[in-house]
């Protein structure tokens, strides 16, 4: 290691650094949650009804072998289940173009998306 030009603190830290232990700290998988842990939507927001209906139905859909397929839900009713998002989305655009409907992949483990500013305490 060429130490010329490095500041003394960096030289000390480089000598103390253990790459093998550092890698253990890095999460590599996107966090997920099991379908039984999906939070209830207690808001009055669009799709709250559909989301809570999905929470009640997802165990049955999985037991019927629909894992990975796409379900379209309006209110408390399943419109259909398709193999691909494109197929389900085509039906959404044809029948429900400008109204809220839940288009959802049926998953055992639900990805938890980072973003939207929800994990931060923003102030204007």
């Amino acid at each position: 290691m060429e130490e010329k030009g490095l500041n003394p603190v960096e030289i000390l830290c480089r000598k103390a650094f253990d790459p093998s232990s550092a890698r253990l700290l890095l999460p590599v998988e996107r966090p997920t949650m099991h379908f039984t842990e999906l939070p209830e939507d207690t808001s009055e927001s669009p799709l709250a009804t559909e989301w809570n209906f999905y929470r009640r139905e997802v165990a049955r859909l999985l037991s019927e072998g629909h894992e990975g397929r796409w379900v379209l839900i309006e209110g408390g009713q399943i419109i259909g289940v398709w193999d691909t998002e494109n197929e389900a989305d085509r039906v959404r655009l044809q029948r429900f173009a400008m109204q809220p409907v839940l288009l959802k992949q049926i998953c055992v483990r639900e990805p938890i998306l980072r973003g939207g500013g929800y994990h931060r305490g923003w102030r204007r």
Binding site: P39, L113, G115, G116, G117, W122
Partner: protein, 144 residues
């Protein structure tokens, strides 16, 4: 390669954004001479976000319905959040003749209330381009 270059300002990496209906809805409406006008907004680049987010008033102004719901991590734990499909463009409002980084059909999250920008640009868009930050020059460039 097309590029868009912006100054790095104290608020962060800020870009000009235009939002409208997803292409599959907008194009047929435009061919009939109708459909909403695009909404101009300010966006913050956020490499800590998996997904781009748009403020609810913009989505409501355009009449875009929620079509997905997922979970995200909030300060108080996991919460369900609505997702919407939009068309979204990054542009230089000072020079609109320059290329736009366009997403004709992008799934976006509803932005948390109180967030001090209209749009949060996440990795879903950033992974379609190169983001080059020149710290000493206080500029950043999107190359696509």
């Amino acid at each position: 390669m097309a590029t868009l270059t912006f100054p790095i300002v104290p608020a962060g990496l800020i870009v000009d954004v235009a939002v409208n209906l997803e292409a599959a809805l907008l194009v047929p409406l435009r061919s009939r001479g109708s459909g909403p006008s695009l909404v101009q907004a300010r966006g913050l680049i956020d490499t800590g976000s998996d997904i781009t987010a748009v403020a609810l008033p913009i989505l409501q102004q355009l009449g875009i319905p929620a079509i997905h719901k997922t979970t995200t991590q909030s300060i108080g734990g996991s919460v369900p959040v609505n997702l919407y499909r939009v068309s979204l463009h990054l542009l230089d409002a000072q020079n609109v003749g320059r290329p736009w980084l366009s997403q004709p059909s992008l799934l976006v999250m509803e932005l948390a209330r109180g967030f001090p920008f209209d749009v949060l640009i996440g990795l879903d868009i950033l992974l379609t381009c190169k983001l080059l930050a020149d710290g000493p020059a206080r500029t950043f460039t999107l190359e696509f």
